[in-house]
Symmetry: C2
Amino acid sequence: MTIKEKIKSFKEEFNIHFEREIRKALQEQRDFHPVITDLDEPLTNIVLDYTMGGKRIRPFLIYFFSEKNTDNESLQKICMASELFHLAALIHDDIIDNSPTRRGAKTIHTATQEFAKENTHLGKDIAILMGDVFLTEAITTAAQLPRPIFEKFREMIQRTIHGQYLDSFGMNQLLGETPESEVLARHELKTAWYTFASPATLGFMMHEHYSEEKELVLQNIMKQIGLLFQIRDDIIDCIDENSGKPLFGDIFEGQTTWVTLHIKEYYPQLLDRIIDAKDTNNTDELKNIFKEIDLVTAYKQEFKKCEQLISGIQNQYSDIKEKAYEVLELLTLS
Amino acid sequence: MTIKEKIKSFKEEFNIHFEREIRKALQEQRDFHPVITDLDEPLTNIVLDYTMGGKRIRPFLIYFFSEKNTDNESLQKICMASELFHLAALIHDDIIDNSPTRRGAKTIHTATQEFAKENTHLGKDIAILMGDVFLTEAITTAAQLPRPIFEKFREMIQRTIHGQYLDSFGMNQLLGETPESEVLARHELKTAWYTFASPATLGFMMHEHYSEEKELVLQNIMKQIGLLFQIRDDIIDCIDENSGKPLFGDIFEGQTTWVTLHIKEYYPQLLDRIIDAKDTNNTDELKNIFKEIDLVTAYKQEFKKCEQLISGIQNQYSDIKEKAYEVLELLTLS
C-alpha cells in the first residue's frame, strides 16, 4: 500500500469515530440546559460540514508511528484528542484570519452568523465558544492517557498557540521585512512541530521499541519534513490556482514566507514590483511577475536536501528512516 | 472573622501564587521559541494589570468548603485551575462583549491592540490566543487531581461555556422578549453554577465528611444563593452609578434580565418607555423611569426567600447550613 492509500483507509475508519465524538460533545453541552433546541441540529451540521473534509494527517501520523492497531484504546484517544484540538485551532484561526470558507465549506463564524438578527458579531462569538468547547474536550480526552504522553500533548498545544501568535504579529507587515528568524520560528511551530514532529512523537511514544534517543532522531527528521511541507505550501500559494485557497493569499495578507525570503535573496529587483502589485490589488501583474521566478526548481532542491538528510540517518534507526521516506512521498510538487 | 475578612486574607496569599503561575505560563510559551522578546514584558504586565484586581471568589469558595489548610497541595491546584479558567473565560468574554475595560484596567484585546500597526484586529487575535493559553493551563493543572474532581471541573467549564453561549444569543434582543426559561437557564449556568455551586462542590469533594447526599444539599442551596447574586447584579446595573460598570449596561446591550422580567410583570406600562429610552440612548430618561420602580424592596424579598431556604436545611447538614449563612452575608444590598 502507498502512504496515500494508507491515509485514505485510516481516514475512513477514523471519521466514523470522529463524527460520533463531535455529536456527543455538542449533545453533552445541551444536556446541561436544553433551551434553544431549534438551533441544535443546524449547529451540529455546521460543525460536521466544516470538519468532515479534513485530511486527518495528524491522527494518521500518530497511528503510523505507533505501529498499533486502530482498535487500540490509547491510540484512539490520542488520535481523537489531536483532531479535536485541530478542530478548535482551526475555528479560532479562521476568526483571526477572517476567512469566509475552509476546504469549500463555510467557516464556523460565517455559518453561525446567519442565525443572527441584529447582532453583527454573533457568528464570531459563537465560534470563539465552539473553539473553547472542542479545546476543552481535546485536553480532557488526552488527560486520560499516561502522564508523559499527556505532557507531550500539552506541549504541542502550547507550541501551536505560540506559532499562531507569531503568525498574528507577522500579518500586515511590509513583505520581506519580517526577520528570517521570525519566519522560521513561525514555520517550525505552526507546521513542522504541529503537523509532523509532534504527531509522530505522540505515536512513537506508544511504540514498543520507543526510546528517548530514537525520539530525538525522529523529531529532527520530521521537523525537516515539516519545514519542507511549509515551503511547498508557500509555493502553492503563488502558483496553483486550483489549491482551494485564493491565489497569492499570503502576499495579500502581508505575510513574509519562504517565497518572499527566496525572492529577496535571488530576485531582489522583483520585490518592489510585488509590493506595488499587492498594494494595487493587481493579481494579473503578480501572475506575470511569478512567471519570471522558477519556484519549482528551487523546491526540487529543497526536496533533495530533505531526502539526503533522511539517507544520512544511521541504519540502527532503520524503522524511522523507512517511515520518513514514506512521509516524504506526500511532498512531491506535481 | 467575618467572611469578608476571610476572603481578604485568602486573597492576599492566593495572589502571590497566582502571579507566579501566570508569569510561569507566559514564560513557558516563549521558551518554545523566544523571538519577539521586546514584547514579552509588556504583554506579561498587561495580563497582570488585568487580573490582579480580581475578587477570587471562586478559589475562596473552594477553600472555604474544603476546610483544608491553604498549604494543601491538591487544594492549591484546584484553586489555581479554577482561577486560570476564570482568566481565560474573562478574556474571551470581553472580546464577545467588546468591552474596553474591566475592573478599571484595560481588557486584553484593548491593551494588546496598541502594539498593532495597520492590523486593526491584532488585539482580538492575541486575546483569543491568550485565552486559549490559559484555558489549556487551567485544564492541564486540574488534570493532576483525582479523576472525580477533574471530571467535575470539566463539567464546570462546559456548563460555563454553554451559559456564555446563551448569553450571546440573548444579546441585542427586544427587552423582555427573551423567554423567562432562557433567562433563568443563562443565570443558572453563568452565575449560579459557575460562581457558587461548582466552586463549593469542588471544595467540598475534598472535605473529610464528603458524601454525595451532602453534595446535593450543598449544590441546591448554593445555586439559590447564586441566583440571588445574579438578581443583585442585575439590580446594581440599573441603580448604582459607582459599581465600576456603566449604568444600564444590560439594557443598552438589549439583554433581558431579572429586572426586565420584574418590570414586565409588575410595571408593564413602563417597559415601552424603557425601550424608547434605550433606542434613543437617553440615560437621564432611564434614571427617571427607574425612580418609579422599587427594586430595593423587591430585592429584600428575594433575599428573605433565600434566607428561609437556608433555615429549612435539616440540622444533620449543620456545617453546610452555617457556611451558607456566611456566604449569604456577602449578598446584602447596601
